[in-house]
């Protein structure tokens, strides 16, 4: 029996099969590829749209990329605070951009697709060393909730813009009349989608009640937390459709302003 005893391994190592990057046979690369395509499109478009500094307002529609508009040289200033020589979009876009950049969902999306860490589950990480979010600059992801605060303020303005989109100028006068066009609906939908995205945020969920240990003692926050939790289950969905939504909204205003399309007025 002694030879049988001797067959016990003394080293503890992983199996050799693990040298392959993955044993998955399905098309695991489709998801990261799609994400890269979508996000790149969005970033390129947004950067361009925010920098061109024209075609962002057609009375009564204001593009969400330029709202609230804080510079005196705005086509449609919300608060004319000071004179900003560059595109006024830059004054506010950092908030929603930062919100999305530090969003728990988008972090997942770009860590996987851009950073390949990991590209897909059970597929080898694209990096040799890995420290996650423990060091600068990724440590700053922890400030996500502050972006939530600022981005929520921006969303409030977008609602304001959507309301104002019911107020149409009477041609040839300074008067306004109550009305509704496709653009009104577009702005409303945009504000609604962005709200769904904002209020399904994980930080929001935490602040609403998730941070409590005994929820039953604060019935109000319990209710709130339960509602936000329900929204939160679809956070990824809201992230995507609001992203596409805001792009379409800007595009709509832009095309109107450039005269490529005309707005259909319901009344």
């Amino acid at each position: 029996m002694s030879e049988q005893v001797a067959t016990v391994p003394t080293t503890r190592a992983r199996g050799l099969y693990q040298q392959v990057a993955t044993l998955r046979k399905d098309a695991w690369w489709v998801e990261p590829a799609l994400t890269v395509t979508m996000l790149t499109t969005f970033i390129v478009y947004t950067t361009w749209a925010a920098l061109v500094n024209v075609h962002y307002f057609v009375d009564p529609y204001l593009s969400p990329f330029y709202s609230p508009c804080l510079s005196t040289n705005c086509a449609h200033p919300t608060f004319a605070l000071f004179n900003w020589p560059l595109s006024p979009a830059m004054l506010i876009l950092w908030a929603p951009a930062g919100f999305r950049l530090t969003c728990y969902y988008y972090r997942k999306a770009y860590y996987r697709s851009f950073w390949l860490s990991p590209p897909a589950c059970a597929v080898r990480d694209g990096h040799k060393v890995y420290s996650g979010e423990t060091r600068f600059p990724l440590l700053f992801q922890n400030l996500h909730r502050y972006f939530f605060y600022f981005a929520t303020i921006v969303v409030l303005f977008l609602w304001w813009d959507a309301l104002k989109a019911f107020r149409f100028p009477v041609p040839g006068s300074h008067a306004y009349t109550f009305g509704m066009g496709v653009g009104t609906l577009v702005l409303l939908a945009n504000a609604a989608l962005l709200s769904l995205y904002s209020f399904s945020c994980h930080s929001c969920r935490h602040l609403c009640g998730g941070g409590l240990d005994v929820l039953s003692r604060s019935p109000g926050r319990l209710k709130l937390w339960q509602k936000v939790s329900r929204l939160n289950e679809n956070h990824m969905l809201f992230a995507w459709i609001s992203l596409i939504g805001v792009m379409i909204t800007d595009l709509y205003v832009r095309l109107l302003s450039m005269g490529y399309i005309t707005d259909l007025r319901f009344f």
Binding site: M1, S2, Q4, V5, T7, V8, P9
Partner: protein
């Protein structure tokens, strides 16, 4: 054999088995300040207890304040056909509530009543809603709680370590010997006391809710050193196991389905249980569908016959199938879909929903389940002292499913989980006290160890012999067909012959490969115990010439009052079994009253 071929550890108390009973015993022993080891043959937290679904019975009285230990005691005794050890039933009913609250203290989160206490659910044979539960994964909650508590108490745990023999010095326990599954190396535990908490032996049957671990090891460890067994013929067939597809046949469908409103129907759509109410339970069982349904809302009504004790329901299903009124795959239908809302079903029975969806492609919120009896639980096992859990061998204690007495001829659902913690604690306590009090040096007979080691390695040296998997499959067929729910002397005798042949074949068993994590070898060793236990069950089943609880004899279809007063005791001496009928201990008058009042 030189001593360097195996490692040696020294303890005061060694607990074999890390299910609910073993964990609770180890926690208690270690709390008494003795050096304690906990050994299990799977990973920690994977024992059978993890699979328990329905709940843990304890007369907390949270849902029905009328409930108390006397009622629980009475239900347990009546469910067990009065064959139970009354003292165990009494201690169990009295202590279960404290043990449940203790689990909560250690972190368990049971489902809650609206006023924030532990919610309790209905189960077969229990007068009131009595089972504390967490959806249908109560066992998981229990084992995790105990496991984490034990880990934080720093108890030494030996995982995937299989104990094969107990060692004796002058009639007393002095050690335990086994092997590491991972390396195949041997390991010796020197110890003053051993608690066996290894569960039952249901893996000897073909259709069973039990896992590979249930090879009756603890029973064999005990009988191999001369301990008595009682009631070993009492094997519980759970009425509702899955029957389709073939590969999942036997997997359990919790009684909670019926507790929460599910009902049994035959192929004609009839609720057949109304035709199978025995006289013994007539007074407390509803005889119309209307009353049965009303009982779910208000327990002042008589209970539905769907929730008669398990032996009654299993036999009824068996008869329906035999009469040609079974479901397409040889079971009956269990219907909750037409009686409760999908939301309710998913909330109350999430893992059943999942299990049927994944394994059988059946959506239980829309369709009925096909169910049939499956081998489930050993009521019998090691004979123990009610208060101390001590076996008849000094230094050997037993708790949990491996021990006998509490459940008599039939166990009520939910009474096992409570059994584990009540008697697990008692076993740990008495083992620790015994170890503290034990004087004199214990010496291990190294010759004995060497002999065992050689026996264990024998399968490697037999060439071209029997395949352990085939022997196991043959044994399962034999027990399923000949020692099943309905038994006759002729078939039982035939089974004995089969088992004898299998024992001979086991001597020629050979295994491939080396000692490192070799399931073929492990099974070959487990067969020693499986065959031994199967033989004990069959012998005792021949001896009990009556039908009672889990033991039904076609040739003696009725209970016999004479047998109602005795335990069948079986013990091994020099590899020979001997049987005896020994009288039950007399119940004191103050407990007897409980049965007279409510006739």
């Amino acid at each position: 054999m030189a001593a360097d071929k195996y490692e040696t550890h020294e303890y005061d108390v060694v607990v074999i088995g890390a299910g609910g009973a073993g964990l609770r015993a180890a926690i208690e022993a270690s709390a008494q300040g003795v050096k304690t080891a906990l050994i299990c043959k799977s990973l920690l937290g994977k024992a059978h207890t993890v699979m328990a679904e329905g709940g843990i019975a304890a007369a907390l009285g949270n849902v029905y304040s009328e409930d108390n230990w006397q009622v629980h005691f009475r239900d347990t005794m009546r469910g067990g056909k009065m064959l139970n050890n009354w003292r165990m039933a009494q201690l169990h009913a009295q202590e279960a509530p404290d043990r449940v609250l203790e689990l909560e203290e250690w972190g368990a989160l049971f489902d809650r009543t609206p006023d924030g206490r532990i919610l309790q659910r209905d189960f077969g044979g229990h007068r009131y809603a009595r089972l504390a539960h967490v959806g249908d994964r109560t066992g998981l909650e229990m084992i995790r709680t105990l496991q984490q508590h034990a880990v934080h108490k720093g108890i030494d745990v030996y995982m995937e370590c299989n104990i094969q023999r107990l060692l004796i010095d002058g009639g007393r326990i002095c050690g335990a010997f086994g092997y590491w599954r991972e390396s195949g190396r041997f390991v010796l535990f020197k110890t003053k006391a051993v608690v066996v908490a290894t569960g039952g032996g249901g893996k000897a049957w073909k259709f069973t809710s039990n896992s590979w671990e249930y090879t009756g090891d603890g029973i064999t460890l005990a009988t191999d050193v001369g301990a008595d067994l009682i009631d070993i013929e009492m094997v519980q067939f759970h009425p509702t196991g899955m029957v389709w597809p073939p590969s999942v046949r036997g997997i359990l469908v919790t009684e909670g389905v019926r507790g929460d409103g599910g009902t049994l129907k035959n192929s004609e759509g009839k609720r057949f249980m109304f035709n199978y109410i025995p006289d013994f339970f007539k007074a407390e069982t509803a005889d119309s569908e209307k009353e049965a349904d009303a009982w779910y809302e208000d327990k002042k009504n008589r209970r539905t016959p769907d929730l008669l004790p398990r032996d009654e329901v299993a036999r009824a299903i068996n008869s329906e199938v035999k009469a040609g009124r079974g479901s397409p795959h040889g079971g009956v239908l269990l219907d909750i879909a037409s009686r409760r809302s999908p939301d309710y079903i998913k909330k109350r029975l999430p893992s059943m929903y999942h299990q049927f969806k994944e394994l059988a492609d059946v959506d239980i919120t829309k369709e009925a389940m096909e169910v049939g009896p499956t081998c489930h639980y050993f009521m019998g096992g090691v004979r123990v002292n009610a208060d101390t859990a001590a076996s008849t061998v000094p230094g050997l204690f037993a708790a949990g499913e491996v021990a006998a007495g509490l459940h008599g001829a039939n166990r009520l659902g939910g009474n096992s989980l409570s059994d584990l913690v009540v008697f697990g604690r008692r076993a740990g306590l008495s083992a620790a006290e015994y170890a503290k009090a034990s004087a004199g040096k214990l010496t291990i007979d190294l010759g004995q160890v060497e002999e065992v080691a050689n026996t264990l390695l024998a399968p490697f040296n037999n060439n071209g012999g029997e395949n352990p998997y085939t022997i196991h499959a043959n044994l399962q067929d034999c027990m399923q067909n000949l020692v099943g729910i309905i038994r006759t002397e002729k078939e039982l005798r035939q089974a004995l012959e089969e088992i004898e042949k299998l024992k001979q074949r086991l001597k020629r068993v050979s295994v491939e490969g080396h000692r490192q994590y070799n399931p073929g070898w492990h099974l070959a060793l487990d067969l020693h115990s499986l065959l031994s236990v199967s033989e004990a069950v069959t012998l005792a089943a021949i001896e009990r010439k009556e039908s009672r609880g889990g033991h039904t004899r076609e040739d003696y279809p009725d209970p016999d009052p004479k047998f109602g007063k005795v335990n069948i005791v079986i013990r091994k001496k020099n590899a020979e079994w001997s049987l005896a009928q020994e009288p039950l201990s007399e119940m004191p008058d103050d407990l007897k009253v409980l049965f007279e009042e409510k006739k």
